[in-house]
């Protein structure tokens, strides 16, 4: 029971982190109709910028400044790169963001090297807040949860309750009408792109100390973020939340429970082969849950795309 609680908290941390990335990505998708492959790269940039700032000014200024810098960089890329490619169609756009992801990884390696940089949580938060049984829960994890929930509430408030949010929502569905009403729609798009990338940057700032700040971090999380918004339904904020939490808990549970395939097979009624090393299906017999944990999200995505191509909460076919 204690273990379940600990896993629930760990899964929540990971899931909310995914949500900070996927919420921005799904907004950008509903705006431009294209998946931003470089989204996780902005997450990485956030972590590296925060590391650089923390070396001079400490953790807290980095928490504020790094996402702002990332957001400005994202807006600039939308304005001077993506808008140019937009006229060629969707496939070149997707390819552009893919190339951008490669380029950002190389640029990060150029400035900060190939190894992990020593970016740590502030000392104020380096203590065990409480413990469940024998497992101590670090204060930093609770801090991560708090920040993510705060961001989610802010996003929800801005999008549904304010005038700016109304205009954004209207611009997503009827850009021409909104433009005719006198709003600068390209500017709104640039702003949404900037805010989305800033959110990714913020996720990087708070995840860097926990998951490590290294050039492969974007690649590691990048495809999972896509999987998340595809499962949740492209363009759906609630879908992104549900899918993020689902994937967060699913991968954490799979990594923690050592269920062996052999036990399941024997319970169903198969007989364990005597000579395992030469058996053709030996890999299936030796399979364990932590082994297949990392590929579960991809499996889920393929299954969902086959049976429900618009995802759990999606309204339109992508």
């Amino acid at each position: 029971m204690e273990l379940v609680l600990v896993i629930l908290i760990d899964g929540l941390v990971y899931g909310l982190l995914l949500f900070m990335l996927s919420s921005g990505l799904t907004l950008i998708f509903s705006m431009m109709g294209v998946l931003n492959f470089a989204h996780a790269s902005f997450y990485m940039l956030g972590a590296y910028f925060a590391y650089q700032i923390s070396r001079y000014m400490g953790f807290w200024p980095g928490l504020i400044l790094a996402p702002i810098i990332v957001g400005i960089a994202g807006a600039a890329i939308e304005r001077f790169g993506l808008r140019k490619v937009h006229q060629y169609g969707h496939v070149p756009e997707l390819i552009f963001t893919f190339g951008l992801a490669l380029l950002i990884e190389e640029i990060v390696q150029f400035f900060w090297g190939k190894n992990q940089v020593p970016y740590d949580a502030p000392e104020v938060l380096q203590f065990a807040l409480f413990s469940i049984g024998t497992n101590e829960i670090q204060a930093y994890k609770v801090f991560m949860i708090a920040i993510s929930v705060l961001i989610f509430l802010c996003l929800l408030y801005v999008l549904t309750k304010t005038r700016v949010g109304m205009i954004i929502q209207a611009a997503l569905s009827y850009p021409r009408t909104v433009e005719a009403l006198g709003h600068n729609v390209p500017f709104i798009f640039m702003g949404v792109f900037g805010v989305g990338t800033a959110l990714a940057g913020l996720a990087g700032v708070i995840a860097g100390p926990q998951l490590g700040t290294f050039p492969g971090m974007a690649f590691l999380l990048g495809s999972i973020v896509f999987v998340t918004i595809v499962i949740g339904g492209l363009g759906s904020l609630w879908g992104a939340l549900v899918a993020s939490l689902l994937i967060g808990w699913m991968t954490t549970f799979a990594a923690s429970y050592n269920v062996a395939m052999a036990d399941i097979l024997m319970a169903v009624g198969f007989e364990m082969p005597e000579e395992m090393s030469e058996h053709a299906l030996r890999d299936i017999w030796t399979l364990t849950l932590p082994q297949i944990g990392p590929i579960l999200p991809y499996l889920l995505m393929v299954v969902i795309l086959v049976f429900r191509p618009y995802g759990l909460f999606g309204k339109r076919d992508a």
Binding site: V85, G113, L234, L299, L305
Partner: protein, 434 residues
């Protein structure tokens, strides 16, 4: 009447053999035959073999991206699976003494790749666009991840390796030397390129283009967009598998690296760099990329940065790729105005090249300054040795870069003007034609 008859002959010669359609194939085959006599070193042969394999793979990929409009992020799966199967067959041939001549091995790889494509294509080709791209990404990740789990087939971390020389000798050749393997690879290159070209001329290949451009309209004509995509997908899987078989023959080892996203991503990069709009685009892309990879990576640690920048700039400014840039010159050539472009090109491109080299030198200098071992201040660029901690090289490099780009920018006005003139008929000529 003369008009209609000329149109008739034009139509008749369209599908048939003409010098213009056959000549490129003959020339390319001759070049492939002669190449080993020009570049005789062992490393050159290795590069050429790799190039040939990449060309086959890139052409297969372009059957999807260029001709079918399907963006795949996991095409390495079909090449890798074909290659793995070929490695296993190669080992069976060795242990069981099966009389299988080595040159036929890529067929097995191709069939296995096609089998995989049939299974996966059965559900992934229902739609093009984002859903297809995402399914391909998911499948790619799945297979790459399971390569570590399913050790029996993928060999785990160390992969599967074998020995190609145990096959049945063909006319006395046992494929011990690189040159024999080169001719085998080159033969398969010509054969599969020709088959892929002919496929693009068949009704199915033509319908693939139609479905790419307007699936709805194609369906109103009575074609199922899904089945057309499915056939393209299977054919592409076959040739990717052939490329995998050639890879197995050449390198005699396949690992997880042949399946993962990095390989899938780089084939997308190669194909797009070469140009997806023309059949020969991926060939150019594969040649340029392999050369960049093998030459540039020897010179600098930063080669991936340059390739990444080149890729992004290509997407932004030349979405047609290198082939697109080449084909832009067809109109001036037909108007007989290609000559007028030479001088403005020289005046713009040489300063631009100097500026780019200057920028690259700046990157190298900064990289060395930041990441070299402590106390190591000496480096050399283009054969000139200097210390990174003195201001002179910095000033020189910045000056060269700025001057190069300034000259290029100044002269580009003239180039743009000449380009505009070269693409329109001059009035006097137009009058003459009428």
């Amino acid at each position: 009447m003369t008009d209609t008859s000329s149109i008739m002959t034009k139509k008749r010669s369209y599908g048939g053999l003409t010098t213009a359609t056959v000549a490129p194939w003959v020339i390319c085959t001759v070049i492939l035959l002669v190449l080993p006599y020009v570049f005789q070193s062992n490393s050159a042969l290795t590069i050429m073999n790799q190039m040939a394999i990449t060309i086959v793979f890139a052409l297969a990929y372009n059957m999807l991206l260029g001709q079918g409009g399907m963006l795949s992020f996991g095409h390495a799966v079909y090449m890798g699976m074909g290659g793995f199967m070929c490695m296993h067959v190669m080992n069976w041939v060795e242990y069981e003494n099966i009389p299988l001549p080595l040159p036929l091995l890529p067929v097995i790889g191709g069939l296995f790749g096609m089998g995989m494509a049939t299974i996966i294509g059965s559900f992934s080709t229902r739609t093009a666009g984002t859903v297809f791209a995402m399914i391909s990404l998911g499948i790619g990740e799945l297979i790459a991840a399971s390569s570590v789990i399913v050790v029996a087939f993928f060999g785990g971390e160390e992969g599967v390796s074998g020995d190609r020389t145990y096959g049945l000798p063909v006319f006395g050749y046992e494929f011990l030397t690189k040159i024999e393997v080169y001719y085998l690879t080159a033969g398969w290159l010509v054969l599969s390129a020709l088959l892929m070209y002919l496929f693009s001329r068949t009704p199915v290949g033509r319908m693939a283009n139609a479905v790419r451009d307007n699936p709805e309209r194609a369906q109103f004509l009575g074609y199922s967009a899904r089945w057309v995509r499915f056939y393209s997908f299977c054919a592409s899987g076959f040739f990717a598998g052939v490329a995998g078989g050639l890879f197995a023959i050449n390198f005699e080892i396949l690992t997880e690296e042949n399946l993962n996203l990095v390989t899938s991503g780089s084939i997308l990069l190669i194909t797009f760099l070469g140009g997806v709009g023309f059949f020969f685009g991926p060939i150019i892309g594969a040649i340029v990329f392999t050369l960049l990879q093998s030459v540039l990576s020897l010179q600098t640690e930063l080669w991936q940065l340059y390739v990444g920048a080149l890729f992004v700039l290509t997407v932004m400014y030349f979405p047609g790729g290198l082939a697109g840039v080449l084909m832009m010159h067809v109109v001036p050539y037909k108007l007989g105005k290609l000559g007028t472009l030479v001088v403005p090109y020289i005046k713009t491109l040489i300063p631009a090249a100097i500026g780019i080299l200057g920028l690259a030198s700046f990157c190298e200098l900064m990289f060395h300054f930041k990441h070299a071992a402590v106390g190591e201040h000496d480096m050399s660029l283009f054969g000139i040795a200097f210390s990174t901690h003195s201001p002179i090289p910095w000033v020189v490099i910045v000056a060269v870069t700025v001057i190069g780009f300034w000259l290029a920018k100044r002269n580009s006005v003239e180039l743009r003007e000449t380009w505009g003139n070269a693409n329109v008929m001059t009035p006097s000529k137009e009058g003459g034609a009428q």
